[in-house]
Amino acid sequence: MNKGIGPLIILVIIGAIALYGVLCAYIFGRTIVDQQAQIESSVITTINKMEYIKREIPAAMRYSFYQSIYDVANRGGGASSSSSYNCIPYWNIFGQDTIPNYQENSDKVFLTIFSKYLSSMSDSSMSDSTISLPNFQVNKGVAAGKLTVSSNEPLMIANPEFYTVKDSSTFSIDVSPDTIGIFDAGKDAANQLTETISKSSSYSDALSEVINLQSSLDTKYSGHYNIIIQPEGNLGNGSSKFAFRIRVIIVDTNDKYPIYDFSENKNDYKNVALSFYLFEGTDSSIHPQINSCSPINY
């Protein structure tokens, strides 16, 4: 009876070996598929994170732009880097241009705030991979009302063991051309005022020229800006030997923006307003009043 078992046992052995082979192949095959699935899942998570960052960056740009333009305009384009009184700079002193580099100053403030936003965004549940945000440069298209940030390096999220996800690092948002162009309007008003006053022979002449210019500027910028010109009293030694300070405020009437008001320590909606002084006249022995101004700590 036992004689018949031999071939059967051999068959069982062969079957068992074949079954092991199939199982081993299946296990290794599954392991590779499972590993792939895990990597793919991780890649999807990382792409999700990249998409999240790309959707949040325009909002961060907008808030950074509103805050930077509000603060820099409020301080006349950068009070801490020039001659100023109570954080409002002089844009012209006896015909000498002392306009701060408002373009550079507002870009610098924008990038400071924008970098803070980028750092705070990177902490989300969407990926444990590391995100590297490049150093951005700002480009403002005043006429087109475009604000663009770009970098030579891409946005990159890397998981060192598996992969690196890269994407474009150029972002643009639409901004009001009037808001972005407020400094140019200020420069135009300052130039016209200094030119007009330089032709005046007396303090009273200068005052009436300033009043005339006010209405001409009101017409020119109607619907865009409110221009407020506040001439102060004569500090000179006579009517023909005069020197006086003029405060110019240019209010962008387009829209109110969500900003943080550092003087009131609260969030608010406010118009962007550019403030600066001019110090003009014929008595150059008089010096404008100047005091120091601390920079805003963002």
Binding site: Q38, T45, Y52, R55, E56, P258, I259
Partner: protein, 167 residues
């Protein structure tokens, strides 16, 4: 054939069958354990991705010309817009199970004073809580996606955590 006939031998038929069974178990037990573990991980990852995708779909939406991060940021700081209940409709579309909870997780900590002059804001003044209409026991949100929504500039707080929990 004597080898197999001798039941008292070192390697008899019973031994062979037992060895085969043990070997099969040794191979199969780790395999099924691994498969169970990997399945769990993949299910978790899949749900996680689903929550992330629903969150992404939500923050990609626009309403009245404003993008969602701007709307949410305005709500959290200025309560403008004050009513975000329209998000319920979007979430009903994005979450297949219709079981979700969208909320600001740290909303209970409102404002904490750290000194007389400095006020540290641990969360935005206005919070958000939107729950699905499904309220039976089958709806227990178990996968979560959290993002930081950018807020209008405030030196104390630039982002607000927003959490979407789905089933």
């Amino acid at each position: 054939m004597r080898f197999f006939k001798n039941k008292k031998g070192i390697f008899g038929l019973d031994d062979f069958l037992a060895l085969t069974a043990i070997s099969a178990l040794l191979v199969l037990i780790p395999f099924f354990t691994l498969k169970y573990h990997v399945n769990n991980v993949l299910q978790f990852e899949n749900k996680y991705n689903t929550a992330d995708l629903a969150m992404l779909a939500l923050i990609s939406m626009k309403s009245d010309g404003s993008d969602m991060p701007t709307l949410l940021g305005g709500h959290f700081i200025y309560n403008s817009p004050s009513d975000l209940s329209f998000l319920k409709k979007y979430l009903d579309d994005f979450v297949p199970s219709k079981c979700y909870e969208l909320q600001t997780p740290d909303a209970s900590n409102t404002v904490t004073s750290t000194s007389e002059t400095q006020t540290q804001i641990s969360t935005a003044p206005y919070s958000l809580l939107i729950k699905s209409t499904v309220s039976d026991n089958s709806c227990t949100p178990d996968s979560t996606s959290t993002v930081n929504i950018v807020l209008p500039y405030n030196p104390q707080k630039l982002t607000q955590k927003l959490e979407l929990r789905i089933s």
